[in-house]
Amino acid sequence: MYAVSCRIFLRLFLAVVSLVAALPAPAAGIVPGVVCDGCHGTGGHSAGTTIPSLAGQDRDYFVIAMQAFRSGERPSTVMGPLARGLTDTDIRGMAAYYARQTPLAQTAPVDPALVKAGMKVFYDRCKTCHLDGSLWKLIHQNRGYERECSGRCHLDYGPERGKVVPLIGGQWREYLEMELAAFRDGSRGMSKRKARAFEHLDDADLAAVAAFFASRTELQR
């Protein structure tokens, strides 16, 4: 218990330090950024489990997501009207603001057994695309896995290719589950490649992989 509260305290402390470090000289996107934090949490660290944290989100991915909200390609409630009301300059500024913030992992406990099952789903179905910096590292620390490396990730995704990869590690489990459910029921569209991956996943797999991503504490783009 003590260790847990220490960890939470340390995270909060780091969040403040990172904010203070990031904010003194108000930079690009500061106004739309801080104004969005009313919903997304100070510095983009969301305290609400159905609203994603935006701290540390990939700049290019942020713009892609906002454009998808704006066009309606990605379904939303409030995000569509907000994206339509904001200018391209606002959105680019917000992307820079959130990319400057240090990402922090969500703080709810996750069932270790579910995480373990989720890691298997990740390796089987998600890893060739969802390789943010920390997952790339994780994969390469797994020597057993590396021996069987097909080289596929190196060909298309991952940091080596400079592809846009959203940071989803450490996100709230409830939010991840809601988005996965939206992919599954078709309300949120996806690429053919992602759809193929989804064909092999049942609800238990989705719950597990949400837990796996939520459990990530080492976060880097």
Binding site: P24, G38, H40, S46, R84
Partner: protein, 428 residues
Amino acid sequence: MKAAGRRAFLRMLGAGAGLTGLALAGCATPEILPKSGRRVVVVGGGFGGAIAAKYLRLFDPTLEVILIERNRRYVACPFSNQVITGLRDFEGLTLGYDALASRYGVRLLFDEVTAIDPATTTVVTRSGRVRYDRLVLAPGIDFRTELIDGYDPRTTPELMPHAWQAGPQTLLLKRQLEAMPDGGRVLISVPAAPYRCPPGPYERACLIAAWLRRHKPRAKVIVLDANPDITAMGALFREAWKTRHAGMIEYLPATRVSGVDTAAGAFVVEGVESVRGDVLNLIPPQRAGAIAARADLVEEGGHWCPVDPRSFESTRHPGVHVIGDAAIAGAMPKSGYAANAQAKVCALNVLALMNGKPPHELDGINVCYAAIGEDEDISIAQVFRVADGRIVAAPVPGGASPANLSRGRLEHRYAESWLRNILAEMSG
């Protein structure tokens, strides 16, 4: 200041607030907290003031920021309609100010502001005078009870609660509902706009109707609206009343409560007769918090504070900024989210003014959720900017929930996180 020193300092402030009435009677008001460096004083620790204090320190850790607030605990209004029908208690809506002091270095003064003198850049509290370089005033609302014949500001709210400032009034309305006979009538009076939280009265009607259906199904809600129509999310509320609360809510537009008949338990309605009710929820017309008028910040012939649309600096007294419900912020509604957004833009522009820098543009955002039942919400999301010296809404169609309320349950889940985040912003 070292942590121990700061704690001692806060204790000293706390003690001071209690003693002052005795110590200062008859004396010339002494200066407390003598000013040494650059200082901004924030008056009022609600959705605007607490955020202004926090972000001023975040943006400039070298600045001294003093937050003066009457109460040590803050009870948030958003979602307090759910307290009335037992869907929520006050625990999750009650905030302290400790983190503003310990994590952000805001100095807290729990005290009541009695006067503001812009000419000498001084705030007068019960314990003494506090000097400032710039002042941010977030005084919220007060009631214009003089517009209601027979309204006694002391006794009438005990009989006809407004429940428009969350706390004991909210709980009183809850008790009255519980005590009401089945078959009784709940009257909700909506004041003429502008008032705090435009969708609030209609949300309240929904939640009370849902509760009545469960507990007193023969009872009814009657909404007496001084406005010609529902002031926010009108089509959505009408749809909810038709499909979720059929037969439970009667809506009377352009029906202004001009007096009370406390003996008969009735509202006196302008141009009609009196309307009797078993529970009388009288939400009086509103004005900027009283201190704004005492500081001469209210517009001539009006009730709210005119401000520059970027810096929120008063157009009547330079050096004083007014944010939140009390300010005239063009198209931005008097909502908690709008106050939060204004506070941040104001904080940036207070610093810009102090440092001789050009002002930041306003990208105002407002996101409001309103419950239409126990597990369904609707929302409105808007972007605001400045055009021709006024804050206007970006012309974007479709800022509100779909007309058929199909996303009600999903929005209910988002609403809960909205609340968690906006409160976490104020308290940590």
